[in-house]
């Protein structure tokens, strides 16, 4: 009897989840077209147009976020794994875990007050800063875990050859764990790629092309949000198409990572 109940709960959980995925693919495939991928938005209420500028804008903002976030995240991970076996290291670990749980909208406020208020207008840079802040704790923790998987003997062998510590860490330890570290980076990337809340008042959105870091920039999740709340059928269609593109990007990133991990290219693991 209880087995039946358990199976029933699983089905009950899977139902909305399958429904979301199925409906997303169904509406997405039906809505996507060449214009959507190549054109900028038409004026309000006019059908047609696309989200090309938002797709590029998203890539642009994510690029800024990665440039800012990845080195700091990996560096902090290296610090924790190689030098951080003490109270102070634990404090950083705990801080990273806490930062992971901070609501994204709060991080948006912080990016607003440290970038937008000084620049005096919304910008791609502010959006990138917000997303970078969200990436750092995830990357830090995964990098640390991956580096700790590298056997101590490898480090000792390297020291034994007279190679200094910095060189050992960069060309032996980090190299051995490369694929694991990249996995962490990709997961952090996938996590922030769909974030909308921190971009609302940092990147702000834009109807036109923009590749200047100090100007407001369109982003795919923002555009989906605006279009979903609009009263126009054609915009609803485009919101679904945008969601489909976004989910394909994220799912392919996540499954590529999973595939790579399963194939055993997992460094020293």
């Amino acid at each position: 009897m209880m087995t039946g109940v358990a199976v029933f709960t699983v089905l009950l959980v899977l139902l909305p989840l399958v429904a979301i995925f199925g409906y997303l693919v169904y509406r997405g495939v039906g809505s996507i077209n060449w214009a959507f991928l190549t054109q900028t938005p038409k004026p309000v209420g006019e059908p047609g147009g696309g989200m090309a500028n938002a797709i590029v804008g998203s890539a642009f903002i994510l690029g800024i976020a990665s440039i800012l976030g990845v080195p700091i995240g990996v560096g902090a991970g290296i610090y924790l794994a190689e030098f951080g076996r003490h109270r102070f290291g634990d404090a950083i670990r705990f801080t990273a875990d806490v930062l992971n749980g901070v609501p994204s909208i709060v991080i948006g406020i912080v990016a607003y007050s440290i970038v937008v208020l000084y620049q005096r207008h919304f910008s791609a840079l502010a959006g990138g800063v917000a997303l970078a802040i969200m990436m750092i704790p995830t990357i830090t923790r995964t990098t640390e875990e991956m580096l700790l998987l590298v056997p101590q003997a490898l480090r000792e062998a390297s020291y034994g050859l007279g190679i200094p510590r910095w060189r050992t860490t960069l060309s032996i330890t980090l190299r051995t764990a490369t694929s694991g570290v990249i996995t962490g980076i990709m997961l952090a990337f996938a996590r922030v790629a769909g974030e909308t809340a921190p971009l609302l008042f940092t990147a702000f959105g834009n109807q036109y092309w923009n590749l200047h870091a100090e100007q407001p920039t369109a982003a795919l999740p923002l555009q989906i949000y605006v279009y979903a709340n609009s009263p126009y059928d054609d915009w609803h269609r485009q919101a679904w198409a945008g969601s489909f593109v976004l989910i394909i990007l994220i799912v392919s990133a996540v499954s590529a990572v999973r595939f790579a991990v399963r194939r055993g290219t997992f460094g020293a693991a």
Binding site: L17, I20, G75, L99, A190, G194, E195, L246, R258
Partner: protein, 344 residues
């Protein structure tokens, strides 16, 4: 040819002992086998650079706290503690009080937990205790995938699928059968606290169940065997041998889900109806702390307005910090005994 290929290499012929010169010492190797120039100095620089990255993580948290406290000061001075007990949110007259938002955040999150916890724990128990081995991989992959769906897409789905279903079928049914409790009374707009609770539940089920699964897997196998040996049925074994041992960890998973639900912004904003009022009925629209930020922050005119919004952000931040720290602690008490990460 063959012979030549195997010719012995030229070797030093044995020499008369008298001829060997005994040098004082072989020329000392001055360079190491591999290039290791600049060892100690560069080591220091490297250490400093990595330390700086580590400090940056701490710095971010300090920066968040500093900015939020600094910029919410204006509102704190104007309204004081009344900010969290008043009901008046009136940007035109610059009167701000956050109780409706606090109420909305708490009610929607608790509603989500009520729906999600039994289901998520059920799924976790199923995948660890009963699931055929072949299904385990795909099931956990699917759950992982769901955690990766952006919340704006959940919101989009909720607007076009969930809300119509609620208005047409579920809400009328609930108000007919449970209307007398007052919780499901009044007209149904679809966009309501109830819709927000459901979409939040769908979003946090993967999180709770994946952490609960980790915790259940740590429960030692002999606990299960002992329960079975005492004649327990499979269900009794799960209850006595597994769930009871994993209590604290499951609690941690639930609180982690709560933390996520409290801060969730987009999906909730899209379906909760965004009306700053406290209504008893769950079918009435509400407003949460995160959604008022999402809706009004970029349009806030005037310093007091902006400051009031940032104060809401600060309150949200503090609540999620406390909730997350508690959850981490609970999960940690369960999984610490296990060599989850091989310490090098």
């Amino acid at each position: 040819m063959a012979n030549r290929a195997f010719r012995r290499p030229d070797m030093l012929r044995p020499q008369a002992v008298a001829q060997t010169k005994v040098t004082a010492a072989p020329v000392a190797r001055t360079t190491p086998l591999l290039d290791a120039s600049g060892g100690e100095f560069l080591d220091r620089i490297f250490w400093f650079a990595m330390l700086a990255c580590g400090l940056a993580v701490l710095g971010i948290l300090v920066l968040i706290v500093y900015e939020l406290v600094l910029r919410s000061g204006l509102s704190w001075h104007a309204f004081g503690f009344k900010f969290f007990v008043g009901r008046d949110w009136d940007p035109v007259n610059e009167q701000f009080a956050a109780l409706p938002f606090v109420y909305g955040t708490l009610v929607s999150s608790l509603l989500a937990l009520t729906i999600a916890v039994p289901l998520a724990v059920g799924v976790a128990v199923f995948t660890t205790e009963m699931c055929p081995r072949a299904l385990r991989g795909p099931l956990s992959f699917f759950v992982e995938l769901l955690a990766a769906i952006p919340s704006v897409i959940y919101g989009l789905w909720a607007i076009f699928v969930l809300v119509p279903i609620l208005t047409r079928y579920v809400d009328p049914f609930l108000s007919k059968t449970l209307g007398w409790t007052g919780l499901f009374a009044g007209p149904s707009f679809g966009y309501s606290m109830f819709a927000a609770g459901i979409i939040l539940a769908i979003m946090i089920i993967p999180i709770i169940s994946s952490i609960a699964r980790e915790v259940l897997m740590v429960v030692p196998q002999h606990q299960r065997e002992a329960a079975l040996a005492l004649g327990a049925t499979r269900w009794e074994m799960i209850r006595i041998g597994v769930l009871r041992n994993a209590r604290a960890g499951i609690m941690g998973a639930i609180i982690l889900g709560l933390g996520r639900a409290l801060g969730e912004t987009m999906a909730v904003t899209m379906v909760i109806g965004n009306r700053p009022e406290i209504a008893k009925s769950l079918l009435a629209p509400g407003y949460t702390m995160a959604s008022v930020l999402a809706n009004e922050f970029s349009e806030a005119t005037g310093n007091v307005y902006l400051s009031a919004l940032i104060e809401i952000g600060l309150a949200l931040f503090l609540v999620t910090i406390v909730v997350n720290a508690l959850a981490r602690f609970l999960v940690w008490t369960v999984t610490r005994g296990q060599p989850a990460r091989a310490r090098a």
